[in-house]
Symmetry: C2
Subunit: 118 residues, 2 copies
């Protein structure tokens, strides 16, 4: 079982490629066979299998072979983990801006008070 | 100027490393010098500079040297682009689940209707 740090490493690594992002975008609309994934990408099946390997290593995608067809499914929990990490950074950033705004406002009010008191 | 695809490639690549994520997490709390970034990470300044190079190449971080101090700042727009990409996938995934739910419900109602009509 991977810890969250290792999972985020592999997930962001998997996301750092336009072909893999296109495969994920297709899988958000529902499961697909490897051929269905390959078709709009104009790349060979071995190349798709290689990208699929990276997506599976991160846990973003799970595939299962039944007969001659390998069906791939998105694992939304892993995608969500990466989204949460980014979301958390934005919340911290916005919180920091808010605190800066309050501070600047208090400085401004203080300044005005000083002017009034003159 | 990088297009969005190239920007996402570089951004997710930059995010695929725990040291770089720690540097970003620090910068969401406000600007920091390279020494301040290095201090909690227990890594050498050259190693921090190398990670900083990757963060700057993606546009996630901007740094400026004034005198002997290089100050680093987060560029929240690039972080937001990556978050939006993941957010969009989740919306599509949830929309897909909703449509499946409506479909299953309609199948269920149709089935009951059929039973009633017997």
């Amino acid at each position: 079982m991977l810890n969250n740090t290792a999972l985020l490493d592999l997930t962001f690594q998997a996301l750092a490629d336009p072909t893999r992002r296109a495969m994920l975008a297709r899988l958000t609309r529902g499961p697909a066979s490897v051929s269905e994934l390959a078709q709009p990408l104009s790349i060979s099946l071995p190349a798709v299998m290689q990208h699929l390997g990276v997506l599976e290593a991160s846990g973003l995608v799970h595939s299962e072979k039944v007969g001659r067809v390998r069906t791939c499914r998105l694992e939304p929990g892993v995608l969500s983990l990466a989204e949460q990490w980014l979301n958390q950074r934005r919340i911290e950033w916005e919180g920091n801006l808010d605190r800066l705004g309050v501070y600047l406002e208090s400085m401004n009010s203080g300044g005005e008070g000083h002017e009034d008191g003159k």
